[in-house]
């Protein structure tokens, strides 16, 4: 095995043994299991409520008992008087009973329930009562079924989403924009979290080796350049592992529990457009790469590991500002947001949102991606240089001077 891979393996194995990385890795899995467990428990405890239906109007009662329940409740048909129903309720055999009074053509339904019984979703029951009432009224008025249907057909109401690209109208699939925005928001949050975590991880990694003077042995064994690339590569492997686990838990979560979470209801995985998935993926990969590489360079500047926070603070501040700006970009297409969506270090948070809501075209998104890729190239070049030059330099002044120069 070449020394490059020896270092890659070592960095990966070492991080796999740290509790922080393991926790980070398992967070989405635990979140997914937690949601699943929550849904499972709430499904288990809320059983279908059992009710009784009582009415002096036998025709009405029969119609209601046989109306569709949609699984909302179960009717105990043998309880046909109020006394029987009351007795069953007191013995907790049923969760509630409905008394329908049809005197004077006025239909009045009263549902009596135990406070400790299972909750009844009453909308379906109400619909059934209304439906039967309508039918009764219609037959009294001598209306045919056809007339009745006509009377109750609602006016149609439809929503069409479109987006404009260079003045040309472009139809979007129904629901598409909402999905895109949800996706862009999720990716922006993930980019931010990954950037912060891995930037500090790699800076810590390098600063610790430097601070503990292991660096002297490392650089006398393996060229600093090779070490640098090996460490960055190891970080990317760790990132990929986490992305895979996060994506897998998200996929399983949406597939199995998606319908039980109101925000995700209607999110159909088949409706994802490959183009936006690709663009978001590129922003994710390049954005995280950029921050990780720059952080590696900054980590090489400090003399001890406790200075890491200070060294990468400019980086985390930019990341936070970009993340905050992504919320502005959701509602605004100001010139600042437009420019920002092309500037590396910020674009990874702004462009995905602008693209998702249709404020930026596909070609604009790709221009921004190319600019980001160029920035990754430059930062790699610069960070290697910093690493080679400063990895054995233990003076404290360098960091101050370097940060001062940057901020000027």
């Amino acid at each position: 095995m070449s020394k490059f891979w020896v270092i890659v393996r070592q960095v990966i194995v070492k991080n796999f043994k740290t509790p922080t990385y393991i926790v980070m890795l398992l967070t989405p899995v635990i979140a997914m299991l937690g949601i699943g467990l929550f849904i499972f428990i709430s499904n288990q405890t809320s059983q279908t409520p059992k009710i009784a239906i009582v009415s002096e109007n036998q025709a009405f009662r029969t119609a209601l008992v046989h109306a569709k329940t949609n699984g909302d409740y179960k009717v105990k048909t043998n309880l046909d008087t109020e006394n029987k129903a009351e007795a069953a309720l007191s013995k907790e055999k049923i969760d509630g009973y409905l008394v329908v009074d049809t005197k004077n053509n006025d239909i009045k339904a009263t549902y009596k329930t135990r406070t400790n019984g299972n909750d009844l979703d009453k909308s379906n029951l109400k619909n059934s009562i209304n439906g039967i009432k309508t039918q009764l009224s219609a037959s009294k008025l001598g209306l045919s079924n056809k007339q009745l249907k006509e009377l109750f057909t609602p006016a149609t109401f439809e929503t069409k989403s479109v987006s404009y690209t260079n003045g040309k109208q472009k139809a979007q699939k129904n629901n598409q924009q909402a999905i895109n925005l949800i996706l862009a928001n999720i990716v922006t949050v993930l980019i931010y979290i990954f950037m912060l975590n891995y930037a500090s991880m790699i800076a810590q990694e390098i600063a610790t080796e430097k601070g503990s003077k292991i660096m002297e042995i490392l650089v006398s064994s393996v060229k600093p350049r090779i070490q640098f690339f090996a460490k960055v590569t190891a970080m990317f492997v760790l990132i990929l592992i986490q992305v895979a686990i996060t994506a897998l838990s998200a996929f399983i979560g949406v597939k199995y529990f998606g319908q039980s979470i109101s925000m995700l209801k209607g999110l159909n995985l088949n409706e994802l457009q490959p183009s936006i998935v690709l663009i978001l993926a590129l922003f994710f990969i390049l954005g995280v790469m950029l921050y990780t590489i720059v952080a590696a360079g900054l980590g090489a500047l400090v003399a001890r590991s406790d200075q890491v926070g200070q060294a990468i603070s400019p980086l985390s501040m930019i990341a936070l500002a970009a993340y905050a700006a992504s919320f502005i970009a959701m509602n605004s297409n100001s010139i600042l947001v437009k420019i920002g969506s092309f500037v590396p270090f910020v674009s990874q948070s702004l462009m995905p949102v602008r693209y998702a809501i249709g404020n930026a075209t596909t070609s604009e998104a790709y221009i921004s991606i190319v600019l980001l890729a160029i920035a990754v190239g430059f930062s790699l070049w610069g960070a290697v240089r910093l690493y080679e030059k400063h990895v054995l330099d233990y003076s404290d002044k360098k960091l101050w001077r370097f940060n001062f120069k940057r901020s000027k």
Partner: protein, 298 residues
């Protein structure tokens, strides 16, 4: 063979190393002495190609010595560094692997190396659970276990008790016997005198002494006498050419301006026959070291 030719390095206005040259053959040990800031670490870093000299070159068997040759190097830095969370075995295997030795080979050798340096602990013990002395031994093992042909040890004896220091001396001599070229730095003259074939002393980047250990001492002449005789301090001081007399119990340490004066001292001391001790030698390295440091401060 290592050849260092006319190395120069400045950091700003400070001269770190000035026109440094020496050679070191396989099976030779060079002791590099000097105070802090004399240029020892800078010298090591330039030899290891971690720092570019302003001028001069470092050759290994006639070819420039670059990072491509680093598998044959064993380097013990002045400030020790180990991965505290690793076990002894993981640590040694990793460092050896970075020098191109396969893990299986290292694992096979590790037991005998741990015995050799009397490391207290098991291979599966974590580094952080070891005592400082044992950590240092692990570091030494990690430096030597891949049988390097060229070894640099920066202050290897610092922090070791006499028993462990002699284990290390033995280790260094074993490596020499296997044909390694060894440079080490120290400020403990005792070790330097015992195991160095050659000696170089740096003072603020300048080479003030350079050569085989014995000839360096000899070049100062046999100007030190340790004496036990009936002569008193004032009698000794009255002899022409006696510069200084120090009394240590029954002994006198006499400093001469010239080795020839020794004959006069011997004659006077033995005029009544038997004396217990007369030992005329060149100054010890310790004295030479302090003399040279003193010159620099004047």
């Amino acid at each position: 063979m290592l050849e260092v030719k006319h190395l120069n390095k400045r950091f700003g206005d400070m001269v770190a190393v000035n026109d440094e040259s020496f050679t070191l053959k396989e099976g030779e040990i060079l002791g590099l002495i000097g105070q802090n800031g004399a240029g020892k670490t800078t010298t090591f870093r330039m030899i290891l190609d971690l720092l570019k000299p302003d001028s001069g070159e470092v050759l290994w068997n006639g070819k420039p010595f670059t990072q491509d040759e680093h598998d044959l190097v064993g380097f013990l830095p002045e400030e020790r560094g180990l991965y505290l969370k690793m076990t002894i075995e993981q640590q040694v295997v990793y460092f050896a692997e970075l020098r191109g030795q396969k893990p299986a080979v290292t694992k096979q050798k590790l037991d005998s190396w741990m015995n050799r340096f009397d490391v207290k602990g098991k291979k599966t013990d974590k580094i952080k659970d070891l005592s400082k002395g044992n950590q240092q031994k692990v570091q030494v093992i990690a430096t030597l276990i891949h049988d390097p042909k060229f070894i640099i040890l920066d202050e290897p004896f610092s922090g070791l008790d006499p028993v462990n220091a002699s284990l290390l001396e033995k280790g260094i001599e074993d490596m020499r016997a296997q044909g390694a070229a060894i440079i080490y730095s120290s400020h403990d003259m005792g070790n330097v005198e015992k195991i160095s074939d050659k000696l170089m002393m740096l003072r603020r980047g300048e080479t003030v002494l350079n050569g085989p250990t014995e000839s360096i001492r000899d070049s100062f002449g046999d100007t030190r006498i340790t004496l036990q005789s009936p002569l008193t301090e004032s009698e000794l001081l009255s002899i022409d050419g006696v510069e200084d007399v120090q009394q240590h119990g029954p002994r006198f340490e006499v400093t001469l301006s010239d080795a020839e004066v020794g004959k006069e001292v011997f004659k006077k001391a033995t005029k009544n026959g038997y004396i217990k001790q007369f030992d005329q030698q060149p100054p010890t390295l310790d004295e030479i070291f302090r003399m040279k440091v003193g010159e620099g401060n004047e």
